[in-house]
């Protein structure tokens, strides 16, 4: 068991590095792994510098950050709701964020089209985060019962609010021009297109701090896995901790969704895979899940950029294409 885990960790780290270098190598201007490494150490020529440092590296870092954020969010939600199918989408993050972005695009379509100005780039993530929080708040209020939140009720409320918000999105999309519609669709599909160092600078500090907080509380998550009654018996203030963890999960998912759109499926599959590889103890599950989802998002984005080049398909769709068959396989193997 121990040996298997060590092999798994080594494999995950290797895979992570391979996918990361791969993401920097391939594109409309392809380079060798050696060139990439040289460029990273400041020895590239002008062309290589632009391709790697200005375009691909920020995008790869964004992919890693969003993957990690979604995955940690998924780990929290699966423990707090005691539901293996919980993921950031269920607490209304995606639908809310998507609705906000669709509204934004339809309201200021002209400024969006003329130039991808500083304002718009900044506005989209902020709108997405705001939308994510508002829809989570709706679900939270619906799931409240005498001041406490019941996990089952939260999932039901989440499904309800998701459906409602998606209906609104469709309604708005029907009224859009074709250009806006495509733009909205690409965002909802989950795309890292246009990721810049500015995105990284905006989200990286928040995501890293949030993940560190969650990791600091890993033992509380462990004990909450045992159920409310046992967790209380072990001295956890379950109601309070659940709220804290929910807010952490929403913040993480909102950060990720704000820059990468709807790719929440990564937040479901990462924690699952991690649990299979290193077990359900969060001290190991959280880092493993973060790594795995990063690999998934980064790999999917690289494929999405190159598969039908120069056309780009949203990474979220790619993740579903890779992830769904694997997930079905997992479900079938389960007992």
């Amino acid at each position: 068991m121990k040996k298997r885990q060590r092999t798994a960790v080594a494999l995950v780290v290797f895979l992570f590095l391979a996918v990361f270098v791969g993401a920097l190598m391939y594109g409309s201007y392809s380079m060798t792994a050696k060139d990439v490494v040289m460029t990273l150490f400041g020895k590239g020529d002008g062309m290589q510098n632009i391709a790697v440092l200005d375009l691909r590296l920020p995008r790869a870092v964004t992919a890693v950050l969003t993957g990690a954020a979604l995955s940690v969010s998924g780990c929290i939600l699966q423990s707090v709701t005691k539901n293996d199918l919980a993921e950031p989408g269920i607490i209304g993050i995606n639908a809310g964020a998507a609705l906000a972005v669709v509204l934004l695009i339809s309201v200021q379509s002209t400024s969006y089209y003329t130039a991808l100005g500083f304002g718009t780039v900044l506005l989209m993530p902020i709108a997405a985060a705001a939308g994510a929080f508002i829809s989570f708040l709706c679900i939270y209020l619906l799931a409240r019962d005498n001041g406490s939140v019941r996990p089952v009720k939260m999932i039901l409320a989440g499904i309800g609010v998701n459906t409602g918000v998606n209906a609104l999105i469709t309604l708005y999309q029907l009224n859009m021009s074709k250009g806006d519609y495509n733009q909205a669709l690409a965002w909802i599909g989950g795309s890292l297109w246009g990721s810049s160092w500015m995105y990284v600078a905006m989200t990286a500090p928040i995501i890293i701090v949030l993940i560190l907080i969650v990791f600091y509380k890993n033992r509380t998550l462990d004990v909450m896995d045992l159920g409310d009654e046992l967790a209380m018996g072990l001295g956890v203030q379950v109601e309070r901790e659940r709220k804290v963890f929910l807010v952490l999960a929403v913040c993480l998912a909102a950060c990720a969704t704000s820059v990468a759109g709807n790719i929440a499926f990564a937040g479901l599959i990462g924690p699952h895979l991690a649990k299979r590889l290193v077990g359900p103890v969060h001290k190991r599950q959280i880092p493993a899940a973060a790594c795995l989802s990063s690999i998934l998002v980064l790999g999917a984005d690289t494929l999405a950029r190159n598969l039908f080049s120069p056309l780009e398909i949203p990474a979220g769709i790619m993740i579903s294409l890779i992830g769904v068959p694997y997930f079905v396989y997992l479900l079938m193997k389960e007992r």
């Binding site: 068991m1 005691k82 293996d84 005498n146 600091y216 509380k217 890993n218 033992r219 462990d222 004990v223 896995d225 045992l226 159920g227 409310d228 009654e229 046992l230 209380m232 018996g233 072990l234 001295g235 956890v236 203030q237 649990k275 299979r276 077990g279 359900p280 103890v281």
Partner: protein, 262 residues
């Protein structure tokens, strides 16, 4: 030695608007096995959950070692009293030793691993419950009896003087029921652990309890040693059955041989 470990003072407990325990006073003696008996819905689980701090009484106080639990940090209570609810769920893929290690939670700081003392306690808990050989197995792959012992080991790892268990023998076959109860008796005798539990099987209660509390409609209808309170009259009050009782072979506790609905 006869100190009162747990004191329940005038508690009223309700789920939403339904009052389950209208007003209850009782004491749990220290260093003994107290077994709560009663029909379904009589409030015995509610009592256990209130004592465990899982349910908050609307009125009244509960004292543990003389301190009111409401006024104490939950972690401090967790160092004095371990609680095992009815049929808990094992997280998928968790190993037995990891499960038992979770019992050390109240003592741990957020960062840093298990201390030497933690390891000793975890090992002792697994030895005491006879699951040391299973420590590297997945807890969800164990049989019902083994799993119950793993849960008890987790509670033991909490290093408390009080152990509260809600129906620890439910879903177990006869031999495993006996095994769990004998284990608890042994822990009680070796370490003077105060044990409070709910059990349905009246003969088990009679055999293993030092102190029996009978509950009906949220009220305590009798309490005392098995020899004093397991009587035909009390069983009739509690369950509405006509029971025939004899003494056990060693003459120390009553045994119910036959019972009939009235």
């Amino acid at each position: 030695m006869e100190q009162q470990k747990i004191q329940v003072r005038d508690i009223t407990v309700a789920y939403e608007q339904t009052i389950v325990i209208p007003k209850l006073n009782l004491n749990i003696p220290g260093g003994k096995i107290t077994i709560v008996v009663g029909g379904n819905g009589c409030g015995k689980s509610t009592l256990i959950k209130s004592v465990a701090g899982i349910l908050k009484p609307k009125k009244g106080e509960i004292f543990i070692n003389g301190t009111e639990i409401k006024k104490q940090a939950p972690r401090e209570t967790a160092k004095q009293m371990a609680v095992l609810p009815q049929s808990p769920q094992v997280p998928e893929g968790l190993l037995v030793k990891e499960l038992v290690a979770y019992g050390r939670f109240p003592y741990q700081k957020p960062v840093g691993g298990l201390t030497e003392h933690d390891h000793q306690v975890i090992r002792w808990a697994m030895e005491a419950t006879g699951i040391l050989a299973l420590k590297d197995r997945r807890a969800d792959s164990l049989s019902g009896g083994q799993r119950q012992r793993a849960w008890i080991a987790m509670a033991l790892a909490q290093e408390t003087e009080i152990l509260v268990l809600d129906e620890p023998t439910t879903y177990l076959d006869m031999s495993h029921q006996l095994e769990i109860l004998s284990l608890l008796k042994e822990l009680n005798q070796k370490n003077q652990t105060t044990i409070v539990m709910v059990i349905h099987e009246i003969n088990h209660a009679s055999r293993f309890a030092d102190h029996i509390i009978g509950m009906k409609e949220g009220q305590m209808v009798f309490e005392g040693t098995p020899a004093d309170v397991i009587t035909e009259q009390n069983l009739k009050t509690l369950y509405g059955i006509r029971a025939k009782l004899t003494l056990s072979e060693d003459g120390t506790y009553p045994v119910c041989t036959e019972y009939e609905l009235e």
